[in-house]
């Protein structure tokens, strides 16, 4: 069996997200924006944990959640 792909560092609440793109600005590489300005989270890219915390606090719609590190 192939190893499970790494879980993404953040999850987006699609209903709450208003597409401000703050997450993509802070978590460069791990989050990019689609053509409508909504975030695409790339699993496998591990962003700096302190950046994750900043992005979660600054998301204006409170739509960004950090995955609990187990």
């Amino acid at each position: 069996m192939s190893p499970r792909p790494a879980a993404p560092a953040v999850v987006v609440d699609r209903v709450a997200c208003t597409g401000h793109g703050v997450c993509a600005g802070i978590l460069e590489g791990a989050v990019t924006l689609d053509e409508w300005g909504y975030p695409i989270v790339h699993a496998g890219v591990e962003p700096d944990p302190s950046h994750v915390a900043t992005a979660v606090t600054l998301c204006p719609a409170r739509a960004l959640l950090a995955r609990r590190s187990s």
């Binding site: 208003t18 597409g19 401000h20 793109g21 703050v22 993509a24 600005g25 802070i26 924006l33 300005g37 900043t54 606090t57 600054l58 204006p60 409170r62």
Partner: protein
Amino acid sequence: MNEILWYASRATGVASITLLTAVVVLGMLTASRRPPRGVRSAVVIGLHRSLALGASLFLLVHIATAIAETYVNIDLVSALVPFTSGYETAWVGLGTLAFDIVLALVATSLLRHRLPERAWRTVHWAAYAFWPMALIHGLALGTSSEPLLRGTTIACAVVGAAALVWRVGATDPDRERRSAVLAQEWS
């Protein structure tokens, strides 16, 4: 010493209103129907947050020095409870009320992750009340003899009002497109 405190209080007062206006404008940009997107939005919202905390520090100094100096009679109670100061009761009281709202705004925003979104949002709307109150407080007191200080406060009012008009008036490009499509003749 007293004189230094008096001038410090006036200077930090004007610095506070300038910073607070910037915070309010950045907040309105984010909340508008045409918000900055992408990296720019991260800068705007980051500045909104850090300037808000910075402005609160200036505000604290402004209030502490106003209490400490003894030209006019403002004590700790009247710095927290509106309309209890013996000096210029109405105008000082308006500033106190504005400060109380700022306290509520900062507290709810720092605790945002523990509050229901509704509660945070309701309190955050109060920003639209505190900002004009702070402006009137600034215009009515202290700065009357200094054209530079008064000019700064007036400039803040003008910039903030312009941002407010834009906040209310800016339309969403998507919505414009949707109504344009709706208005088309169907063949």
